[in-house]
């Protein structure tokens, strides 16, 4: 068998919850030796939380040791392990690794070219560095809840959304640092803020505010350059299909699919501008057509005609029904 991609790379993993474990999973999935250092006194909440499978999902391919690093013997053992490592990752609140005696300046004395990544809510420096939090709430601080939901309604909760942005930037930072170490022999300390990672995904709206002094709000499922553009109710309980029509060509195809070619030329809907002006009426018409069909049927008919459409998939759809995931062995 060929050498695994990251074979020979050892990662000491102090992470817990979501962001940290997702970060190190990229490396364990591709052959790095990831060693989780766990506390029996304060175990990973995902490990003890039986209601979800997140721990199982995000900890695959990793080794685990338990160690009380608050004791001198424990600290000595972890220092020995660090001397053999390439990368250290933690996602405690800011300043915790320093307090444990495992800050960058301490560990670089043991292993000069070590790459250390700390991932916390708002970064290791600044007045908010030590504030504890979780992605469920940081998603609000980074602006995402404000732009999710309907214009006349309260913002919509989207779980720990930024917990899935931060790991991507963490992985990128470690990959770049490994490449830099390969060329120069130098390690480094990577101070990662989930807040700053999240804002990368808000950039156009940041510029819009800075330049045009505009704070945009929630638009439901609407988009300025598409209509129909929504999730439409289909046959069955809680079944939906998303449909997105951008161009007039797609609009014509859409009208053919629903068996109303005449609708294409209807002045209420003939151009994108008119479709946007009469979008509420249009959504009602689309719903009338979708509601008696299955979401899968709607998706297939639309896609075969070149219109973007997709089942609003449930957990069951993702794991058991979606032919694409099956074909690609995604799970």
């Amino acid at each position: 068998m060929d050498k695994k991609l990251f074979e020979g790379i050892r990662v000491i993993d102090f992470t817990w919850h979501l962001t940290g474990p997702l970060t190190t999973k990229h490396f364990s999935d591709m052959g790095a030796e990831v060693i989780r250092v766990e506390s029996r006194r304060r175990p990973d909440i995902q490990r003890v939380n039986e209601r979800t499978g997140s721990f199982k999902q995000f900890t695959t391919g990793k080794l685990s040791i338990t160690l009380n690093i608050a004791t001198p013997e424990g600290l000595n053992l972890i220092r020995q392990l660090i001397a053999t490592a390439d990368v250290i990752v933690d996602n405690f609140a800011g300043g915790v690794m320093e307090r444990l005696g495992l800050g960058y300046n301490a560990v670089r004395k043991i292993k000069p070219d070590i790459i250390v990544l700390s991932s916390c809510m708002q970064g290791q420096t600044g007045p908010h560095a030590k504030h504890p939090g979780s992605g469920h709430k940081l998603t609000a601080l980074a602006g995402f809840n404000h732009i999710t939901g309907w214009p006349d309604q309260e913002p919509v909760w989207i779980a720990a959304y930024t917990d899935f942005i931060a790991p991507r930037y963490n992985i990128l930072a470690i990959l770049a640092a490994l490449e830099y170490r390969r060329r120069t022999g130098k390690g480094q300390y990577l101070d990662m803020s989930q807040y700053e990672a999240g804002i990368q995904f808000m950039a156009p709206l940041v510029l819009d505010y800075g330049v045009n002094d505009r704070v945009v709000g929630r638009m439901g499922n609407r988009l300025p350059n598409a209509a129909p553009h929504n999730a439409y109710r289909c046959q069955g309980e809680d079944r939906w299909c998303a449909i997105a029509v951008f161009t007039d060509d797609e609009w014509n195809s859409f009208c053919n699919v629903i068996g109303s070619p005449a609708l294409a030329a209807d002045p209420r809907f003939a151009s994108l501008t008119s479709r946007k002006d009469n979008e509420e009426e249009l959504d009602i018409l689309v719903n009338e057509w979708t509601v008696s069909r299955t979401a899968e049927e709607v998706m297939k008919m639309m896609q075969e005609a070149g219109v973007a459409a997709g089942v609003v998939e449930t957990g069951e759809d993702l794991l058991d029904n979606d032919a694409q995931y099956k074909h690609r062995h995604t799970f």
Binding site: H136, T139, Y180, V211
Partner: protein, 413 residues
């Protein structure tokens, strides 16, 4: 001329053929120091038509979306379907490390520039392909849109309320950004492998798969319990929890977190107590007992005084209190709030970027990592249409000015 430091990816060159589905990939590699050349169709990419726009003027050189995700790139125009354009592209590939693209699967093969063709020119080339559903499988030719990717990635069904359809995050596509970041990780992972194999490869990024990697509990709830999460039906056993709360001037994000995180509720009670707004129930509740057996009525008793407390205070007051008491609460912020954050200011997060042709300096989100070693940074603003044609075609490929003029007139560049 940009002041380009070496950067962590300093030695590498990237040819970026992507549209909005993949622009972030090249931006990340560019901000990390790679020499990224955005290859646009003659006249400029259609992605330049995406708003919002500078001073609200729809114009291909004023798209703020384009600005956002094309930093640290140079720009050339090239028709890669024409014979002469292909010759030029092949020359560029010989000197490149990465080609990133987001055409429909099979398009590059069809025009003779698929991975097999590129690999013959340059065995080390890493082709990163970002497509709606991947290069293989029954849906590979399906079209996507952000709402479709969000739906089919399982990231839509859990969110919204019972009066509306499931919902996506408004405005520009989030799905494409996840895919773009995954593509950059794929590119660098392939680079790491190239150092031991001396071989490039094609990296196949599926936007659908990028989205499904954002789902929390959706797959595992089905896998372990055969529960389909749907809006409001989150896996808190038996509890309906308020998660976004109105306050005096907006909303805050907070919920009473039970089980192993129940200790995180104490600081909020302390904060409310300091304002004289914690009632006897909150003050006397044993938080170590807050778990699946806690009743919905008790949740109501926690939430009622809390709702009153939040309504009596502003976002800023509550955030300040949260910082002082260590409460895991954050305000529902807007870009305006973020741009006045003392934390981001203290970390010098925002980066000013000059746009001389607009006579303006714009504020951009800064580095995604703080490090003293070659931090990621915006080395130049997004390119104008064909801004570096001369620099690259004449300066690097030694195409004569006369030939360049012909290529321009014949629509090749």
């Amino acid at each position: 001329m940009a002041d380009k430091a070496e950067g962590m990816l300093g030695p590498y060159r990237v040819l970026d053929l992507t549209d909005e589905k993949g622009l972030l990939c090249g931006k990340i590699l560019g901000d990390l120091g790679a020499d990224v050349i955005k290859v646009e169709r003659p006249g400029g990419d259609t992605t330049r038509n995406l708003g919002p726009f500078y001073k609200d003027e729809p114009h291909p050189e004023k798209s703020l979306f384009w600005f956002s995700y094309n930093t640290s790139k140079r720009g050339i125009t090239l028709d890669i379907e024409s014979a002469e354009g292909q010759d030029i592209f092949r020359q560029l590939v010989k000197g490149a490390d990465f080609v990133i693209e987001s055409f429909p699967p099979g398009y590059l093969e069809k025009i003779g520039l698929g991975y097999t063709a590129l690999e013959k020119l340059n065995p080390g080339i890493i082709l990163v392909s970002i497509t709606p559903f991947g290069q293989t499988g029954p849906y590979r030719d399906y079209k996507t849109a952000d709402i479709v990717a969000w739906a089919m990635g399982g990231e839509m069904i859990p969110f919204g309320d019972t009066d509306h359809p499931p919902t996506r995050i408004s405005h520009h596509s989030q799905a494409y950004l996840h895919a773009g970041a995954d593509a950059a990780a794929g590119a660098m992972t392939a680079l790491y492998q190239r150092w031991s194999t001396n071989q490039g490869q094609q990296v196949d990024v599926s936007i659908q798969e990028a989205v499904v990697n954002c789902t929390e509990h959706v797959t595992s709830s089905w896998d372990l319990k055969h529960i389909n999460l749907s809006y409001g039906r989150w896996p808190d056993p038996g509890h309906e929890l308020t998660r976004l709360w109105p306050c005096k001037d907006g909303y805050v994000s907070w919920f009473f977190w039970g089980g192993p995180m129940s200790h995180s509720n104490v600081p909020l009670v302390e904060l409310m107590k300091s304002k004289g707004m914690a009632d006897d129930f909150l003050l006397n509740f044993d938080w170590t007992k807050y778990d699946a057996k806690t009743t919905q009525q008790e949740i109501g008793q926690m939430e009622e005084p809390t709702a009153k407390f939040f309504l009596a205070h502003t976002k800023a007051e509550l955030f300040q209190g949260a910082l002082e008491y260590g409460v895991q609460l954050y305000p529902v912020s807007t870009p305006s709030d973020m741009m006045s954050s003392p934390q981001l200011a203290a970390r010098n997060f925002w980066q000013k970027v000059e746009h001389p042709e607009l006579g303006a300096t714009l504020t951009y989100p800064g580095p995604f990592a703080a490090t003293e070693v070659e931090p990621p940074r915006i080395s130049r603003r997004a390119p104008l249409i064909g801004e570096h044609n001369q620099e690259i075609y004449e300066g690097e490929l030694n195409i004569s000015p006369e030939k360049l003029s012909t290529l321009k007139q014949t629509g090749v560049i």
